[in-house]
């Protein structure tokens, strides 16, 4: 599903964010990527969604080699990979439902389709009751769930979460992780980038550890070891 082959990424003047990294993620997997701050985790995410380009090596999503993806193709890639972040990136002046609908509007979906899709993804993330509230009227966990709902509107095969629980307390964090597991059960490949030792250890799923842009550990039922 996702392959990084001998991938290297440099940031001028002399940061080597990824250093000859190879990894392979299979369809339907739930993979955690862990590593210290600055180890290159976000760089992996950026290369995966075409925001940054590798300097060496290749990235392949499905059977699409996106190593040298053009700016015109990026939108198509983005509709196939849902992404969420630590800061939920919701628009404060739109309700949760409007935030989700926005993702559909800007890609030219008809109001009819939008009306059908929004409630269904809201239901998946359990926000049916709160969907007409504004971001500042709901908890951080609920905001992150709205962001997840937005990431799901195109039914992506892959969901990438870059520190989704970084701004949440442990209870909310656990709920988000449970939601990600549920989405994974529905067939979506989930990549969870995190610092949170407790979460990773409880998951008992595949863990990829990164250090200085290099893969240092890859275990099928791993623990947070760094």
């Amino acid at each position: 599903m996702i392959r990084f082959i001998n991938a290297s990424k440099f940031y001028p003047p002399q940061t080597k964010a990824l250093d000859n990294l190879s990894l392979h993620i299979y369809p339907g997997e739930f993979v955690s990527i862990v590593g210290q701050s600055g180890s290159g985790k976000t760089t992996i995410v950026k290369c995966l969604i075409g925001e940054e380009k590798l300097d060496e090596g290749r990235v392949i999503v499905g059977d699409w080699d996106i190593t040298h993806i053009s700016n015109r193709e990026i939108p198509y890639l983005r509709r196939q990979i849902g992404v969420i972040f630590q800061d939920f990136k919701l628009l404060p002046k739109k309700t949760l439902a409007e935030n989700v609908a926005f993702a559909l509007q800007v890609c030219g979906k008809s109001p009819k389709k939008i009306k059908a899709i929004v409630p269904s993804v809201m239901k998946i993330v359990g926000l049916t009751e709160q969907m007409n509230r504004y971001p500042n009227e709901v908890s951080g966990g609920e905001q992150q769930r709205a962001a997840i709902a937005r990431a799901l509107v195109y039914q992506p095969k892959i969901l990438v979460a870059d520190e989704p629980t970084g701004n949440l307390d442990s209870i909310n964090a656990e709920e988000i992780v449970n939601l990600l597991l549920k989405i994974n059960d529905l067939g979506t490949t989930v990549i969870l980038v995190t610092h949170n030792r407790e979460i990773v250890n409880n998951l008992n799923r595949r863990v990829i550890s990164i250090s200085d842009g290099r893969l240092v550990n890859d275990q099928a039922r791993g623990k947070y070891i760094i």
Binding site: R72, R79, K89, G108
Partner: protein
């Protein structure tokens, strides 16, 4: 496709509305620029009309002796008409001269009174000579000086030419100044447009980040900003036309008084050319503004 277009238009209007004061400032600058261009155009028209009018008035009158037989006059007229620099020669008979004199002094009863007290027509028959090209006025005068005929009483080389040169000079100077002012405004307009698009992008950066994230096409992200610059242009052009028209309405009576007899009617001119003027201005301004916004969008929407 149609749906996207509708959304682009909607977002475009939102841009304009959300940065209301900025939009207002942008439109004001646009109006100033276009107004100065309009003013330039009006000055050109006035100058041209004045010059044309004067060119027609650059002529030489040759006064003839009274009571000269008609055939001798026509003979002289034919000789004059054959000269190189002569466009046409008009014969104004004694009675025609009197008539036109009376017409010119219609509102001056004292002069008319004095005229009546004379028992004969005091005016001389006249030949007016019009030059082919007012710029070759001196040569015409040389030619005329060489013509000798006993029936010629006097010649009046009244120097409209000097006045013409002066007006030419003034209109040229006014033109230069107006072009400089217009260019300065144009430059300001480009900078302001560039900047307001930049600020519009800045105030929408959250949306842009999200749009990119969820896979909106680049064209869809950029188009609203270009569209809003079109809105600015349209509003600016229409507003300018309205203001300028009002300005002309106020100005016209002064023009009529100042250029009495020159028949400079800017209002009529604008009435019959308004579509061209507005259309050209819109096309020109839209091109400049789209270019400025396109560069701004290209530069700043890569958040």
């Amino acid at each position: 496709m149609f749906l996207s277009l509708a959304r682009i238009i909607k977002f475009g209007f939102q841009d304009v509305w959300r940065n209301f004061w900025l939009s207002l400032a942008t439109i004001m600058i646009l109006v100033l620029t276009l107004f100065s261009v309009d003013l330039l155009l009006a000055l050109r028209i006035i100058g041209q009309a004045a010059v044309d009018n004067l060119k027609n008035r650059v002529d030489v009158s040759i006064y003839l002796k009274q009571g000269v037989p008609e055939d001798k006059i026509l003979n002289l007229k034919a000789r004059l008409a054959n000269l190189n620099n002569v466009q046409e020669v008009n014969y104004i008979s004694q009675s025609a001269a009197l008539e036109s004199f009376q017409r010119r002094h219609q509102s001056d009863p004292e002069i008319l009174q004095a005229l009546q007290e004379l028992d004969q027509n005091p005016l001389a028959p006249t030949l007016t000579v019009k030059p082919k090209d007012p710029d070759h006025y001196e040569e015409l005068i040389e030619e005329l000086d060489q013509i000798e005929d006993p029936i010629i009483e006097s010649r009046n080389f009244q120097d409209n030419k000097k006045l013409l040169d002066k007006i030419n000079y003034i209109t040229d100077k006014i033109n230069d100044v107006a072009i400089i002012i217009s260019s300065i405004f144009l430059l300001i307009m480009i900078l302001v447009m560039f900047n307001s698009v930049r600020l519009a992008i800045y105030s929408h950066r959250q949306e842009i980040v999200i749009m990119k994230l969820v896979g909106a096409s680049n064209a869809f992200i950029k188009a609203p900003f270009l569209f809003s610059s079109l809105i600015y242009t349209l509003v600016g052009v229409v507003l300018t036309a309205v203001i300028f028209y009002a300005f002309l309405t106020v100005l016209q009576p002064y023009l009529d008084t100042f250029f009495f007899g020159y028949n400079i009617d800017l209002i009529t001119y604008f009435n019959s050319h308004w579509l061209q003027i507005i259309g050209l201005q819109f096309a020109g301004a839209a091109m400049v503004n789209l270019l400025a916004s396109y560069i701004a969008v290209g530069k700043y929407s890569k958040i």
